[in-house]
Each structure stands twice: as C-alpha cells, then as structure tokens.
C-alpha cells in the first residue's frame, strides 16, 4: 500500500518525501479532529454520571424521571 502510494507520487525523491509528510499530517489531523473524538466515548473512562442516561435526559425534561442517572 505504502509502496503503491510512493510510486504514484509525482516528482523526485525530495518532492515525494514532502508530499508524504503533508499526507501524514493530514491523516493525523483527521484522526484527532474527527475519528478519535468519535471513538473515545466508547471507552469506559468516560462515564462519570450516575446511570449514564443523564446526558440524554438532561435537556428539556430533566425533571421527568427518577430513572436518569449519575455521571462519572
């Protein structure tokens, strides 16, 4: 895969290396900006409320039920 990308980049070695760096930076940016923030809540150390439903129920009708919970 990486070899294939390298072969399809234009220019000489230096230009290719620079383009590669830009590509890597772009991928890292996308990961940090979009992919990781999406994936991180699936890990356990994010639940700080009692019962976890509080976030969803916390809005308009926060008073609605006793079933909403504690956030960790």
């Amino acid at each position: 895969m990486y070899g294939w990308i390298w072969r399809h980049l234009p220019g000489n070695v230096i230009v290719r290396a620079l383009i590669s760096l830009v590509l890597v930076a772009g991928v890292v940016f996308l990961l940090f900006q979009y992919v990781f923030p999406w994936a991180e809540p699936m890990l356990p150390f994010n639940d700080v409320t009692v019962d976890g439903a509080a976030g969803a129920a916390g809005g308009a009708e926060g008073a609605a039920s006793a079933g909403t919970g504690i956030v960790a």
């Binding site: 990486y2 070899g3 150390f45 700080v48 409320t49 009692v50 809005g59 008073a63 504690i70």
Partner: protein, 268 residues
Amino acid sequence: MTLRAVVRSFSELCITIGVLIVLFVVYVLYWTGMRADNAADGEIERLQDQWADAPLEGGAGDEAGAGDADSGAGQGDGAGQEAGSGDEGQAGGSAATPGTPPGPRAYQDGKSFAVMYIPRFGRDWSRPVLQNTGEQTLRKGLGHYSRTAGLGQKGNFAVAGHRRTYGDPFKDFPQLRSGDPVVVTDGATWYTYTITKRPYRTLPSDTGVLNSVPSPLDKGVAPFSKPGRYLTLTTCDPEWGSSHRLIAWAHLDATQPVSAGKPDALTR
C-alpha cells in the same frame, strides 16, 4: 510473488494499526487534556467577562435566602422537598414555578454559569460548571445535573466531572475528606460548601445520591437526614474504569457577596 504481496500487505497493516493505537493513546492522555484545559480557561474567562459586563441582579435577595443555610435550612419546606426529589422545575432554570424564587440567573443548557474551586485539588484548581451532563459539556468542564437544584438553592446541587481524560478534573477525588471546602461562585455570591465525609463508592445505578436529601442504596452512608442546601459531586471509579461511581456530599456553610472578596477557604 503473490505470497510476497500478502506478507507485505499484512505487515503494513500491522504497522498501521500499531501507529493508530499509539496515536490514540497520545490523544486520550494528552490531547483531550490540552483541549479541555483550553476550553475550561475559555469558559472561565467568558464568565468573568460576562460578570464584569453585567453584574448579576438579585444577588442580595438570594444571599438573604441562603444565609440561613446551616441553621434553619428546610424547616418550612421539608415535606415538599422530600416528595419532590429535585423535580421542582429548576431544570434548566426554565420554569420558575410560582412560589419558588428563580435562581440568580436562568441556566442555559450547555453553557457555563459558575466556577468551582476545591483547594484540596490544588490552590489553583478551578473549573467551570456547565448546565447538563452531556458528553460535549463534560469535555469543557464540570456538568450540573439539570434536574437537580440550582447553586445555593434548597435541595441538592449535583455536579459530575471526569476523573481521567479531558484535563483530569476529578483525578484526586478520593483524597477529599470531611471538612474540605468546595467553593462555588456564580459571579454574585461565593458559596462555601463543606464536605461531610470521605467519598462513597457506589454503583452507576445509584441515582438516589442525587435526591434533594441524598438517599444512597447503602442507607448507612446517607449523609443528611433533613432537607437543606447540599452539594453532590460524582465521578467514576476506578480511575480508568466505569464499573462504579464515587460520590462526595457537602452542605452549604457560608455565603458572601463577591464584593466582600474571596472566602477564607480560598485565601488560606
């Protein structure tokens, strides 16, 4: 030839996944913290600007009400509080039901409205308190359970915060001890709460801890017996897990107008 291609592709895949995992760890350990610290500082700055521009009205009246916090709290309103368990329409500060004085300022969903100081976590520890406990909200600071009482109001002002990641606001939660001050300001008043006892470890489903008069599953640890002005802090336990929750309770000890300067608890 094809075997070679398969082996090479597999190796590249493994390396890619490895790099992804390392990047993710960096993201969780450092990046979320930096982002959260920035966001928290931004929120606190925004609040201070807002308070400087438009001093809160009604502060005086609120203080007068809160002044009786430790002595006479809840003598008259006992029945209503107990039955209501915090569903008195303070959620979001939207509905000021007749007879209930509205909070100092209506809390806007997802917006910060107060700053919390806990000297036990460090002299310079301060975090904004935002309305609701949603994922996005807790990335910026502490979250106020919308359905619980407002700051300094009768009932239970409950706040959740991350133990780890996003700036580790409640990292030192287990070090809280009886008598520790928790100071919160809404721009008009300093509210000094005092922790009643060591944090209580419970299950995530133990929602009774948020009641106006907290009623945890383990009745033995119930901190208060009658209605009053209380504060509840919640975070997760163990540090990196989510199987349990840590709860700390405090009661309102003193209030003073912002014009009177910082409370003793912060200047000590």
